[in-house]
Amino acid sequence: MADKMELKEVEVWDGNLASAHSLRQAQVDVVAAYPITPSTPIVENYAGFLANGYVDGEYVMVESEHAAMSGCIGASAAGGRVATATSSQGYALMVETLYQASGMRLPIVLHVVNRALAAPLNVNGDHSDMYLGRDSGWIQLDSFRPQEAYDLGLMAFKIGEDHDIRLPVMVHQDGFLSSHTAQNIRPLQDDVAYNFVGEYKPYNAMLNFEKPATYGVQTEENWHFEHKARQHFDLMTKVMPKIKSVFAEFENLTGRKYKIVEDYYMEDADIAVIAMGTTVETAKLSARIARKSGLKIGVIGIRVLRPFPFDEVAEILKNVKAIGTLDRSSPNGTVGMLYNEIAGAMLGIGKAPIMRNYIYGLGGRDITVEMLKNIYNELNEDAIAGKRLGAVQKFINVRGPELTFLGK
């Protein structure tokens, strides 16, 4: 039996340590992992817990991220709680197995500390890796700061492992800006956290020798479509209600309220920006300042990236005149992902607000309060004019001549 850890009411943890504690408290049965910057400390902290008697599950240090997820799949199919962590190139190496995990409906929890993708090589945070996995059939939860990486880390097990769901879950946080930024964290005590997550309930376990199961079959054109349709159906119809109920349970326990779509100052907003990760925090601060000068700006943070909250987003944005989507990933030949999804959500309710797409922060480039205020002003002018006064897409804080695309 693993030792319990006495935690203070407020601890000073960075996002990586917060994630590692969530894994420890969930009493994960198997962690198969491979270190990569900036998620390495999750694995290191976990190894430290193990070395000091705070973990009694198996910790398998494999030889690559692909093997990490492969080992997680084997372990999860065997019938127990499984988690790991990765970033960037490691995440890219895992991609093949991400699809395998979700297709076999294995509720693995993966902490993704977001980082740019090479080339050119870069160790800092952007959302390229998070975007890469968005069609992989996983549930993707996004945290904006270390406390949320911890909270969502606990909730992820409860969401994914539910027998109606049985899907793997990613918990995202920004590389360095969240993973290496120490903040005040209010953790749960070990027993409280474990009781919240609950015991793992096996489902079609390979280690149940009374019911031999075959995992990872081949399906060709006569079966494949139906299986993919089933997975999509469950993602589209079952996951959101489950997430909502887990968020509500968590709020009852801790007082900390989570929403599918986080919104700030949206009640009377004429203009809004949509962001993810730590940028949501910066955007909130900028909005508070901008509101003092009379801008009716609101901020939306996407808490659940997959399944995408079309209805929730559209409901919040239905009366907004101008929208700026902030994408921290190079779209490489099109508009950013958030622009696409939000445009789709608005069109779905018959609305056509003015929309802009801002590409920012690639490879860890700063986005400042001042830059965000400029974006708000631009959107505000659009709203007043009743039309978009510039190009759809604009790169923020990149050196060289102004970089805009799609109209002027």
Partner: protein
């Protein structure tokens, strides 16, 4: 550990209840199936099996049918070793935590992969699993070619074989590279037990599989799988060709214990010329043209040298 299954002779072995089923989609005469049966029937313990993408996998788990009466998983081409060792890690965790479903059982963890999955694309995953020391058995179904996809060269394809990616032609004798010595590589991992087997020598094979199951730690088995489709011989000749393969010493049967102790486990009474082995297979047909005669001589010399080397290793015990 449960008691080892007693297999006195072939008659007593034939009372085994197969846990691998028919109406799978393997070719008529496929040696993979014979190997799988000998592995599975070597124990009465429960089995957790993984398979890499390849003939065995695509022919035995095609929805809506499974041919496996055991827990079975396939993930990808490269990672059957990791899939099954992940399950083995879960077994250890649940055992420690007292959460096993049937705690009295003593399951065996077995991964199957073709030579492409083992020698080439999955090599890193096997190496990692062996380094970590999981308690499992990895079985390479070695038919020296990517048979599932129609006969492309793999790292196990021997020199002179005609394959679709190294076809024999007017100016080429086919594959130019030598077969990788996987036995030596796996022994160099310090694995407690490494063995080469051939299904036609069933007694030798089953004994090695049982030794493997009784060994704590990672076990590597290289199983010769004569391929009627890609080696190009009639489906009825699988065992006959396999006999020639071991009696010509192209596939010598031996084991290596703890990385050093080498034992030859089968010494043919009459060693057959390598020429005869090459002659029964369509993939070597072109070697019998006059301009390729030197290649047959080189084959014989190479096989002789390797046999001499194995005997020296056996004597030296190092």
């Amino acid at each position: 550990m449960a008691e080892e299954k007693k297999i006195k002779n072939l008659k007593s072995f034939s009372t085994s209840a197969d846990r691998f089923e028919g109406a799978n989609l393997l070719c008529p005469g496929c040696a993979h199936s014979i190997i799988v049966r000998e592995v599975l029937n070597a124990t009465n313990d429960d089995l957790v099996i993984s398979a890499s993408t390849g003939c065995l996998e695509v022919c035995t788990a095609v929805y809506p049918y499974t041919s496996w009466d055991a827990s079975w998983i396939h993930i990808g081409f490269e990672n059957s070793a990791t899939a099954v060792t992940g399950a083995e890690a879960m077994y250890k965790a649940l055992k420690r935590k007292g959460r096993l479903f049937q705690p009295e059982r003593t399951p065996k963890f077995v991964a199957f992969g073709g030579d492409g999955a083992s020698y080439d694309i999955g090599f890193q995953w096997i190496s990692g699993a062996f380094e970590r020391g999981h308690d499992f058995m990895y079985v390479t179904l070695d038919n020296e070619v990517y048979a599932n996809t129609g006969g492309q060269s793999s790292g196990s394809t021997p020199i002179g074989a005609s394959t679709t990616t190294a076809p024999a032609g007017r100016v080429s004798y086919g594959e130019k590279r030598h077969k990788k010595d996987m036995m030596a590589i796996m022994a160099a991992h310090g694995a407690p037990y490494v063995a080469q087997v051939a299904p036609n020598k069933w007694k030798d094979m089953v004994k090695k599989i049982q030794t493997g199951f009784n060994t704590k730690g990672p076990v590597y088995i290289n199983a010769m799988s004569a391929c009627t489709t890609e080696w190009k011989f009639p489906a009825s000749d699988t065992i006959a060709v396999s006999d020639i393969a071991v009696d010509s010493l192209v596939f010598p049967l031996y084991e290596i214990i703890n990385g050093t102790e080498l034992n030859i486990t089968y010494r043919p009474k009459n060693i057959i010329p390598v020429r005869d082995y090459l002659g029964v297979q369509g993939r070597f047909k072109h070697l019998f043209q006059p301009e390729n005669a030197h290649l047959i001589d080189a084959w014989q010399k190479r096989v002789d040298a390797h046999w001499a080397y194995l005997q020296k290793r056996e004597e030296a015990r190092v």
